[in-house]
Symmetry: C2
Subunit: 468 residues, 2 copies
């Protein structure tokens, strides 16, 4: 099929490459609509015809139109709201109309390369809904009642198998506690450690302010360990060090190196010898590109390591789903702190995630995302090599972000220049613990997973302009 | 239509009362299958034919069969699991086969008349899924990102309008905080009050241990106010009383009386005069049977009253969705405590509830539930009048539970007898604050909303045997 039609008041060329199957027609329609939006032929806010009437106009199945609309809603090109139909999204990303005139400066970012989130437009909306439907049909009535404080057994069972297979975690469903994401789990653990009388927790030289603050709010001090090419220097853990440590062993955040095998072993040895607890933040363990994933540290000693995982990077932060696998000695205390806070999650979401994982949809989604992010990473590295050869990307064997090492003294001015170009990007200095002994390095932390697929090329171009 | 068929290996009589519409056929099929399960003609675990093949056998539309199956799954008669098809549920509730032989005593309850939960089998599963689908299609991509700490603006906007209309709440979306249910909200408020330096909170003579314990865990003492026929005696609030009070003004839990209008006014006057805060637990405000609902106290002074609502009674506790409407002075502190705990809820659930309310499905569901619970209440009152005339049901103008006043000294033995009959029912003494000055009364707190529709008659019969 290849035809031009003018049903939306604009000429759209429907090109299916000779594939007249339902799939081919759907793709052709999706492509044509996307192109029309991208080019400005369909302007923001334009109301599209109902799927029924467009289907009649085009002589194709209504479901095909509905599916194409849904695809484009999921990608962020269209919006669908109850009562106001399907419309072209009010989007920021339009081609620069007059490149010669000065661009509008400042204001809301046009491109976001902040780390910590996946591409939200690639969330598998329809697969998730299908899993929700199956989960709802299968849910026992008691799933709608007051919750199991550990989370639904169906999800804990599926997670135990998944974490063992994908991350080498030694997991028993009875040791898993489902939480509202990593931050919730960390806050609970911080309160448990404080209630045990711990005054402080060792942390890495680089990390997230929000994590340190959560521990501070629980009444704990945070004491940074050293950092070098082998990762976080766990030699700082000893008989006099804090009795708990928060680590990102698979992929140090944000520096990107895995913890050296000797140091993994040394950390576990310390925990055994001194009765210490290791909190393992495995935030992006699913995304490893160049070799076998680094397994979870927890597998080395499940009685000394709390494993912390999340769906925030592999699916979306908005789901607010995370999990921890606890040593036997910590479970009662964690559940007691949770009880005091009264915050339990929706049973339906948990059953949906269980179904999503069990049906294979999770693996498929992660595989597709891994390919997409690896391609972006490769494009980032290639673009920098061509246009900013003095900027080196490191920490790129895994994850959704890279560290771009900058010439000394340039970080602040480059971040400012980026903001001026309406490109949101973060300097490494914001991830350095205030008491860390590591020398100041100038670098950017670039979340290449964050932009929507259609915005990625523009974001990369803006980045190259800023650092080139 | 009225015919008998034997497609499941049993004779089923499909009676549609002459209504050959799709709705009539669906109802006829649902009734026939339900009757076959109830009578034991279809035994637990039996696998039903696929909807496709049963539809062919019966000469009706496949969707009609699928809908009938879905209805019966929702009611708990059938189960549908991925991979194992639709089966007759393994249910506890079967007709007593040999009434002459001694029944099995002790063990898990056969009937649950504990208060606090609605009939979970009446959860509107398919309507909820429809709302989820519409919400997913309309959700902006940022809904999948890190959350607004107050909850999604779409839900807060819909709730503001709903609460104003249905409960007379003075609500602004900016003042609403969506929580993981009432307990989560109460725990946050307890921590805020403690951080303000309050040593104690006034509570009602009767209430829930779990609420008092949450406040204790936040570091607060609880001090009970008096109670009489006009409700909780707010004269105990004065210049020297605690500066905060937790009340159930619309329908005292569990005693069931509304707070007298003079006392509502007096409570608000106290709060204004002394700078006090009233926490209004409006747990079942939607369910009022005999006259106009008692509006929320919050409407009298939104700057002195925190309104607390929940979907746990109107929909299901498993959703873990609640909300509070905060005075302007409390919002920052509540959000700060929430930040320290890191527990935010799923954006998709919030968007689904917003869509569910806005589409009218919530009102329809509440109306249907109200009729169903009122019928149960009437049956409870009638059965007691006939079989246990010395037992008086009180607190029955609203809600999902009743207080059954017992002859003095009999509460404990009746609760034990009920447990022996595998009927879960609670004595009033378990709801009395340990420091309450009210005289001990013997009574049962009977949650008539809790049983599944098919189990209600049996539960009522068991109750009458125990108290009669």
């Amino acid at each position: 099929m290849g035809e031009t039609w003018a049903t939306l008041g604009v000429d759209l060329h429907l090109e299916t490459g000779g594939d007249a199957s339902r799939h081919g027609v759907r793709k052709g329609l999706t492509d044509a609509l996307r192109a029309a939006v991208r080019s400005g032929r369909l302007t923001p806010g334009t109301r599209l015809p109902s799927s029924r009437s467009l289907a009649v106009d085009l002589g194709i199945a209504r479901n095909t139109v509905a599916d194409a609309y849904a695809d484009l809603v999921a990608e962020g090109w269209l919006t669908a709201r109850q009562g106001s139909g399907t419309r072209v999204a009010e989007r920021v990303v339009t081609p620069p109309v007059r490149p010669a005139t000065p661009r509008r400066r400042g204001g809301a970012p046009e491109y976001d390369l902040g780390p910590g989130a996946p591409d939200l437009t690639s969330f598998p909306r329809s697969e998730w809904l299908k899993a929700a439907r199956r989960a709802m049909a299968a849910a026992p009535n008691d799933a709608l009642g007051y919750p199991d404080p550990r989370g639904r057994i169906e999800l804990r069972t599926v997670l135990a198998a998944y974490l063992a297979r994908a991350r080498g975690v030694h997991a028993d469903p009875g040791r898993i506690v489902v939480t509202a994401g990593f931050l919730h789990a960390l806050a609970l653990l911080g309160r448990v450690l404080r209630a045990r009388g711990l005054p402080e927790v060792a942390v890495e030289s680089y990390g997230l302010n929000i994590h340190w603050n959560l521990l501070h709010r629980a009444g704990l001090r945070t004491t940074p360990l050293g950092f070098d090419a082998l990762g976080t220097d766990v030699a700082g853990l000893g008989p006099d060090s804090p009795k708990a440590v928060l680590l990102t062993p698979a992929h140090q955040f944000p520096m990107g190196v895995p913890l050296h095998p000797d140091r993994r072993a040394a950390a576990v040895d310390w925990a055994r010898r001194e009765g210490g607890v290791i909190l393992e933040d495995d935030y992006d363990g699913e995304f490893r590109y160049d070799r076998q994933p680094v397994g979870a540290l927890q597998g080395l000693d499940p009685e000394r390591v709390v494993y912390l995982g999340t769906a925030s990077k592999s699916l979306a932060p908005g789901l607010r789903l995370g999990w921890m696998v606890l040593p036997s000695g910590l479970q009662d205390e964690v559940l007691d702190e949770r009880h005091a806070a009264g915050a339990y999650g929706s049973a339906l979401d948990q059953l949906t995630l269980a179904e999503f994982i069990e049906s294979g949809a999770y693996d498929r989604h992660v595989r597709a995302a891994r390919l997409r992010y690896r391609r972006r990473r490769d494009q980032l590295v290639a673009a920098l090599a061509a246009r900013a050869p003095e900027v080196r990307a490191t920490g790129i064997a895994a994850g959704l972000h890279a560290v771009l090492e900058l010439p000394p003294g340039t970080e602040q001015s480059i971040v400012q220049a980026a903001n001026w170009e309406r490109l949101a990007v973060h300097g490494l200095s914001g991830f350095r613990h205030p008491e860390a002994a590591v020398r100041q390095r100038d670098a950017l932390v670039v979340g290449y997973g964050t932009p929507a697929e259609h915005a990625w090329a523009g974001a990369l171009e803006a980045l190259c302009r800023v650092v080139g």
